[in-house]
Every structure is written in C-alpha cells, then in structure tokens.
C-alpha cells in the first residue's frame, strides 16, 4: 500500500462518513454553547451577589474549572457522576462538560460586559424604582450584549475546536470516525486531513458569521421583550 501520496478516490469514499459525523460535532457545539451561555450568566450574576462567601466560592469554582483540563473534566463527569446515580450518554456528558468549562470562561466575558455599563444607568434605574430583575432585563443586558459578542463568539469557536476530545468517551464525532476509518484501512492521511480542513472551514465561516452578527446588532441595544 502506497501511503505517500494523496488518494482522491479514498478521500471521496470517506468524506460522506466524516460529514455525517460532523452533525454530531455541530450538535455538541450547539447544545454546549447554549448551556455555556446559561452557566456563564449564572456564574457572572452570582459573582455580583451581595454574599461575600458566595462571591468568593464562585470565583474559586470558576478559577478551578478554568485551570484544569477539559479532558479530565469530561472523564470526571463520565466516570464519577454515575457513582452519584447520574448516568448520562456520551453526548450529554460532552454537552455538560463543554458547557461548564466554557461557561466558566464566558462568565468573565459577561462580568466585564456588565461592569462596562455606566454607573449612571444603574443609578437611573434605581431612581426610576425598577426592580433588580427589571434593571438587568431592560437596562443592563440590552446594552451589555453587543460588546460581549466578539469574545463570546471566539469562545464558542474554541469550544467547537475542543469537541474532538469527546472521542475519548466514545462519542462518534468527526475525529473519532476518522480514526476508525484510518485504523480499518491503514490510511490515516486522508481522513485526518479532511477532518482538519473541515474544522478550518467551519471555524472561518463561524468567525465571519460572528462578525456579521456583531455588525448587524443595534449599537444602542434593544428591548428584551
């Protein structure tokens, strides 16, 4: 078997399999980012809570999640959680791990976004007798979202690029499928290269998309109603 040159026939043969696995990758990214945005908001708002103990424990939790490897967190959720009676499928485990990991990163983005709102806005909301929830919902978040878009987008792309780690808990995403194809055919060149190119293409398209979203977003904010 000649492994030195690129085999187009083989590449075309394996491309459909890899593309169908791309659906799993994209699904994990989509669900993971929804969960991450949710967790990020929760962390960011808890960091602003009046209780000092709560603030500090969230700070260390976020710091801990951010400074330990995603792969180990995936293993932890996959192998340790069942001991507490919580069994999840590889996909759900992956979504939780990605969401938690990137939620920790996003909480810093959201926090600085919220901190970026002028003090006068808070004071005006207080003067107008708005409740805390209304202040966030109608005054702060609508203005804070636009500046958060680029950083949030970058983290979502970063998350997308970390989905191959879910192959370690047997999720059949792109890289795992490519590896199986490679070991069955003793040819790794085409499947791995195709996966690499697909990641590159998806990342570039996503980066362009995020830029467009940011550009189209009203600068003065919008109502969350």
């Amino acid at each position: 078997m000649n492994g030195f040159s690129w085999d187009w026939a083989f590449a075309w043969e394996v491309l459909p399999m890899i593309l169908s696995a791309a659906k799993v990758t994209l699904l994990a990214t989509l669900l993971g980012s929804i969960f991450a945005i949710f967790m990020g908001l929760v962390f960011a708002l808890l960091r602003r809570s009046p209780s000092r103990i709560l603030r500090n424990s969230i700070y260390w939790l976020v710091e801990f999640i951010r400074s330990t490897p995603l792969l180990v967190q995936i293993f932890f959720l996959y192998y340790v959680m069942p001991e507490f009676g919580i069994s999840m499928s590889p996909l759900m485990t992956g979504v939780f791990a990605l969401g938690l990991h990137y939620g920790a990163y996003l909480s810093e983005v959201f926090r600085s976004g919220i901190d970026g709102i002028e003090k006068g806005q808070w004071e005006a909301a207080r003067a107008l007798n708005l409740t805390t929830i209304d202040t966030y919902k109608d005054i702060v978040l609508p203005q804070a979202i636009r500046p958060m878009i680029p950083a949030t987008g970058n983290y979502i792309i970063a998350m997308f690029k970390e989905t191959p780690q879910l192959s370690a808990i047997t999720l059949l995403e792109m890289l795992q499928v490519a590896k199986i194809i490679g070991s069955e055919n003793f040819r790794y060149l085409e499947p791995f290269t195709l996966v690499g190119i697909l990641y590159l293409v998806f990342s570039i398209v996503a980066a362009y998309g995020i830029h467009q979203i940011e550009k189209r977003f009203p600068k003065e904010g919008f109502t969350l109603k």
Partner: protein, 219 residues
C-alpha cells in the same frame, strides 16, 4: 488500592506532564517570536507562510494536530516517537497563539517610541531590538502566562497517543481499580496546583521585569 498508592502513581504521571510542559513551552516561545516577528516585519512570501502557519494551527484542533503528526507523518517516512510528537504538536499549537501575543504587544508600544527612534536616527534593526521589543516584552508576560496554563491543560491530550502522563495514569488506574471518585478528584487537584503555580511564576516574572519601566503607578 490505598489512597497513598493512588497518589504516588498519579505523581509519576504528573512528572511526565511537567516534562512535556518544560519542553513544549520553550518551543512555543521560540515559534511565537519567530513567526510573530515575521508576521510583523517580513516581506511578502515569508509573511504569507507565517500567516498560513498561524491560521492553520489556530483554526484546527490541538487533538487533530497531534493525531496528524503522530499517525500521518509516518506515511511520509517520518516516524517520530509519541513524546516528540506531543512536544512538537503542543509547541506548534501554543506557539501559533503566541504569535498573536507577540504581535499585540509590539503594536501596543506607543507610536511616539517609533517616532522618537526614527528622529534619533536609529536603524530599523536597532529600533526593533533596542526600543520596541524590550518594552513589548513586558506586555507579553501576562498573556504568555495564560497560554502556559493552556499548555498545561492541553498536555492532557497526549494521553490519547499513549503517553503515560497524568491523565493517562488516571484513566488506566480508574479502569483497573474503579475508584474513579478519588482518582479523578486528585487529578483535577494536581492540574489545578500546576496551573496556579505557573500563574504565580508568571506574575512574579511580570513584577520583576516591569521594574523601572514606570508603569502600574507608584509602588
């Protein structure tokens, strides 16, 4: 297995992890400087090569790069052992992110510094090496510290190409002893300690290097 035994096996793995970090970090720093400076200052063909390297390594996953180097290069007759593949893949990956740190830090040096060095008739080379880089270097330390932590975390990927690092040891211990809670708990803690230690090191470095530069107010 006793808790002490588990910890001692895991510590052996941690040593391998530290070794990989110690080898990949200098490689990443060298790549970051070389390609960061090429990206900034080189003429056409080299600049495009640097952009290709940066975009390629930043646009695809570290794990794919690792697999590519480990599984695909042998087909081209380049067989490298797992350890070298790990150091090269991680070094190139983190190095690609580092180029942006170098670029950002150089561009953050105030324009007046360029103008003053031109006014004082420095050559282009002197301007870069004597005026710009020494000031830019301090700005690079905090983001490089973050990248170093990213590197520590990324080393866990090498367990997937059968290197006996901390994650690999944890996984195989977990498979044999089934004491998953203790094992992964200890492993997370060890990674946390390593990352925090590295963060502290970079903070000290920053403090040390920014002495006499008149930044950060009076202290």
């Amino acid at each position: 297995m006793e808790f002490g035994e588990i910890v001692s096996v895991l510590l052996q793995g941690a040593v391998v992890t530290i070794k990989i970090v110690a080898m990949a970090l200098p490689l990443a720093a060298v790549m970051a400087f070389i390609f960061g400076l090429i990206r900034l200052y080189s003429p056409a063909p080299f600049k495009q090569i640097a952009i290709f390297y940066i975009e390629f390594f930043r646009g695809t996953s570290a794990l794919i790069q690792l697999y590519w180097i480990y599984f695909v290069l042998p087909f081209f007759g380049i067989t490298i052992d797992a350890m070298t593949a790990a150091v090269v893949a991680l070094g190139l990956n983190i190095g690609a992110y580092g180029t942006e740190v170098v670029r950002g830090a150089v561009q953050s040096v105030p324009k007046g510094q360029y103008e003053a060095s031109i006014a004082l008739n420095f050559t282009a080379r002197q301007r870069v090496w004597r005026i710009i880089l020494p000031q830019a270097f301090v700005n690079m330390i905090p983001p490089f510290g973050n990248l170093a932590i990213e590197l520590v975390k990324a080393t866990s990927l090498v367990s997937l190409i059968t290197i006996g690092d901390l994650t690999f040891k944890a996984k195989s211990l977990a498979d044999t002893t089934l004491q998953v809670g203790e094992i992964f708990g200890v492993v997370l803690f060890l990674y946390f300690i390593m990352s925090q230690a590295l963060a502290l090191l970079f903070k000290l470095l920053e403090k040390r290097l920014s002495k006499g530069l008149g930044r950060g107010g009076i202290n």
